[in-house]
Symmetry: none
Subunit: 128 residues, 4 copies
């Protein structure tokens, strides 16, 4: 089985690393890209892969567990627990980002069409 690089972690974004991990798992679960029973990569794997401290990954995983998103089994990889969400639930998860984007665009006086084109263009970018 291939090692799927699940996370897109940006240490310079200002968003805490553990939150980046947490939010991405939430989203992958919401969309059904991570299904109940799916295994998460181990703390060490993620830490090595992204050159971050295992403690940081571990913390994200613990919070996911507390949220009921994943379940921990002694000596085994963590598994996804939660089920899928509706389309609306999913849009709600990017609500905050949408708001910030639109606020920024307005303050920059970027025309609506320009912004929409920029989003479209990004969507056609490399599907990493």
């Amino acid at each position: 089985m291939d090692l799927v690089v699940l996370f897109d972690i940006n240490p310079h974004s200002g968003v805490p690393l553990y939150r980046q991990i947490l939010e991405q798992v939430r989203r992958l679960v919401s969309s059904g890209q991570l299904q109940p029973g799916d295994e998460l990569p181990s703390v060490r794997e993620v830490a090595r892969e992204h050159a971050i401290n295992p403690m940081t990954v571990s913390r994200a995983y613990s919070l996911m567990e507390a949220e009921g998103l994943v379940e921990r089994q002694r000596g085994k990889p963590m598994r996804i627990r939660a089920g899928e969400q509706s389309a609306d639930d999913r849009l709600e998860q990017i609500e905050a980002l949408l708001e910030r984007l639109v606020l920024a665009a307005r303050q920059l006086d970027i025309p609506d069409q320009t912004l929409i084109q920029a989003v479209s263009k990004k969507l056609q970018g490399p599907k990493t």
Copy 2:
């Protein structure tokens, strides 16, 4: 005399308050909505308005001054110094937000059209 509420500050966004202020002034200046010579609301005004600590506002203002964005005159309100930017420069300022939005949308498996519609809808929201 109108009290213009310049800033849209969200204490729950995870973005530090002083950075929200700093980034918004940068954007308003970039777009020419704040012109050289324009006065910024006073530290105390902003603090009162948004129920945050004056020191937090002051910190944002100090960083703006270090950046050369505004100029200070003893005992008087701060004034905008820098001028306008090109359209491209402005789009670059929301690049990071765009990236995060598109990543989130993909991880949520939100169809491109749905995302674009969501952006459009937000743009038609209340022009605060």
Copy 3:
């Protein structure tokens, strides 16, 4: 391991503490006494050493970062980024002090030779 006391902080000089720190780092970097990659003492260390508030030190460090003088790595000490300057650049940095000194000497009617001797004498003082 030696504890190098980098800073000479005088709480009675009228110069804000954070500016004293900021200016001293600038000078030590300009002269190459602090090299790129060198670590700065931690905020807490400096604060303890000089019995000042950590926030005050932190403020100086934040401004240095905004200036591109140092770089921050999460959870690690700050490191020097910028490189050395020319001899002329360095003299320029004490220009303001030179002006004030000469103005003061003239207003006190201190003869030129007396002032120069006083400077020489100070230079031979303890090389702290």
Copy 4:
């Protein structure tokens, strides 16, 4: 009688305006350039001359009075009270500046000879 422009005020030096005035009078008195009985320019004159707030000048004058440096007479200009000082007393007044200059020079790694030459050169500058 000519209006002697007594003060050299620099609003960008970081030194509070009232302190600049206060210190300069102290020095002019110390050196005997202002003799007991000499009149000081009026608050309004100084304020107009340097485009600063009369309150600021007034404050400096009040502090001088509190110090016994000058005396106020209803409706008349302020007059110098204190007498002359010894050469050593005068050098002591620029002690703090000397210290700051020498500290700065060392941190900039400016050779002693270079600093002394810089001081000499400044001394030969325009005798404003």
